[in-house]
């Protein structure tokens, strides 16, 4: 019996991000190992998964990274494609297929897109923001590239739990907003902790000579958030939902402008 069990190789793993378990199947043991390493901390033992995806690996020379992302609904399924991957997802069947090279960034991109679609109908979103938990509350730090997301994540004190330095995961549950840790890393190349916490505030970042937190007008708050939301589907109905989700978020969660000098004193203001 032991030899039979030893002969059975595992061909799937469940990656749970934002509390949503998704099972990824591959026949390539090397790629499975790569996935286990890439999503360490987010690999789940859940058997009750929301979706199953079969991954088919394509030869490396099929990469064409110059192609832009396209996400569209066609014949009852979502298609997601870029030069390095093509994925299809049938929400009703709870399953999908991904054809990609053995590149962790391709599956990362597919998962990001998939989660943007899942969250769009649920009042949540992915946002280009660092986030961390301190004193039981999550704080998000959004800003255009070079605004300081990586810097503020790097400066986080030991009592702060880093959720991500790159892409924050926001869910609306029972009219409350929570942030979840993600494995989506940026320059810091450090996976977030797989925990969640209610969101205390969103800060729109700017670097300056001194640290200060300022109130901003609701319209500027919504605009600042919308500039940083990840959403790729060319679907007017979902785009509208994301727009309303951003406005609802800024109605319920304090949004402030945080100008900071890049040293750890900035965290004295975040609690």
């Amino acid at each position: 019996m032991a030899s039979l069990i030893a002969g059975v190789s595992r061909s799937a793993l469940v990656v749970e991000i934002g509390g949503i378990p998704i099972r990824l199947h591959t026949t390539d043991p090397g790629f499975l190992k790569l996935l286990e390493q890439r999503y360490v901390g987010f690999v789940s033992s859940a058997s009750d998964v929301r979706f199953d995806f079969q991954i088919e690996l394509a030869p490396p020379q099929t990469i064409s990274p110059d192609e832009d992302v396209r996400v569209y609904w066609d014949s009852g399924r979502w298609s997601m494609e870029r030069g390095d991957f093509h994925a299809e997802w049938d929400p009703a069947a709870g399953s999908g297929r991904i054809r990609q090279t053995a590149n962790p960034y391709s599956i990362d991109s597919v998962l990001r897109i998939l989660h943007t679609l899942l969250l769009a109908t649920d009042g949540g979103f992915l946002v280009h923001a660092a986030s961390a938990v301190r004193n039981g509350r999550a704080f998000l730090f959004a800003g255009l590239s070079s605004a300081g997301k990586t810097t503020i994540a790097r400066l986080a004190p030991p009592d702060a739990t880093l959720l991500t330095d790159e892409i924050s995961y926001v869910r609306k549950l029972d009219d409350r907003y929570s942030a979840y840790g993600t494995p989506f890393t940026g320059e810091l190349a450090r996976l977030g902790e797989n925990v969640r916490a209610p969101i205390g505030a969103l800060y729109l970042l700017a670097k300056g000579r001194e640290n200060k937190i300022e109130q901003i007008r609701p319209a500027d708050a919504a605009r600042g958030l919308l500039e940083n939301i990840l959403f790729f589907a060319r679907d007017p109905k979902l785009v509208k939902l994301v727009f309303h989700a951003a406005c609802a978020f800024t109605d319920h969660v304090p949004v402030r402008r945080l100008t900071f000098f890049p040293d750890n004193r900035v965290w004295e203001m975040i609690a």
């Binding site: 990274p65 960034y105 590239s145 790159e166 990840l230």
Partner: protein, 85 residues
Amino acid sequence: MVIMSAGDPRVFSLNEVATVIWEAADGRTPLDEIIANRICAEFEVAPQVALKDAEELVQELSSQGILLVSDQPIVRIASSPRETP
């Protein structure tokens, strides 16, 4: 606009003006032409100021490896990043 890099896990957020430049960067249209025909036409900004800011932006995107800057029109090859001459 948010850009997902295909070559690494990073994401880039661009403001309105940067988005126009990114979308107009086709490897054939010179930057000063993009500024004159798109940026100055759509935003209230002096051409010299816009060009200086745009040059800084494309250098930044180039240093991040997501935009290729050239003084010649570029023949597109399969593995090149987005181009602007």
